[in-house]
Point group: C2
DNA sequence: ACTTTTGTGTTAAGCACATAATACAATAAT
DNA sequence: ATTATTGTATTATGTGCTTAACACAAAAGT
């Protein structure tokens, strides 16, 4: 699975978003064990320190916790995961609508464009 | 007019996007003169070198050109501006749909959420 | 003619990010 | 008991972004 990291933004931020999305999408089970820092660093072709920094941020958010020598785990708090999902979705929607309106699109035009794009496959 | 620059991404990139959007939205007329580097730098509370870098990128894109000692101007090529508009819109739509689908939303759910948000005012 | 304004270039400093190379203590695995 | 693996911490190095402080040539404004 390619990680598609670009150099326009801090890599550790992109990793945070990636793992966050994967947790929300259910690719990691609540309470489940995450691969080790070194393992994930290698998979993402990234320095272990960078991956460690990303994990630290995920812990700060609360989606992940660590047991010093046994590994790192996804939170078992399903409500928190669900809450993160709706928060992120709302943010993305607002961001999208704001940009589109700044570009000069009306609400109906936005809906039309979206329907048109969704029909394309 | 606040510029709302954050520290998560390079400032010059954010300025590029901001001016690009303003050109597309028609806040600057095609062929019209832009404020000077020093002027806009002050307005955005940014170092002139940073603003200069942003302008250089806008020139590279082709939305702007400069006459060495008289100032900087918006392109008169209306088709290029229109083209930039649809390209940006398409990019934003694809980005939005991709993220929402990764979060686990179906197409109909996305449309529902969007309609729901648009009705909120 | 003189001054101001224009875009542009240069050099130096500080900062965050990323990589590299280690090291350590605690636990799991054997 | 020994080894391997875990998260975590440290130091050093390189790079890009940003600010700061200039400088210059060319044109516009006076």
């Amino acid at each position: 699975m390619a990680w598609n990291l670009d150099s326009d933004r801090p890599i550790f931020s992109q990793i945070v978003e990636r793992i966050q999305t994967d947790i929300i999408a259910g690719k990691y089970e609540p309470g489940g064990k995450l691969p080790s820092v070194r393992e994930m660093a290698q998979e993402a072709s990234v320095n272990p320190n960078t991956m460690q920094k990303a994990f630290a941020e995920l812990e700060r958010i609360g989606l992940v916790y660590s047991r010093r020598t046994s590994g790192r785990f996804i939170t078992e708090d399903i409500k928190m995961i669900e809450s993160a999902k709706t928060t992120l979705a709302q943010q993305e929607m607002n961001r999208f609508l704001e940009i589109m309106q700044k570009l000069g699109y009306s609400r109906s035009e936005i809906l039309d464009l979206l329907n048109q794009t969704l029909k394309k496959n």
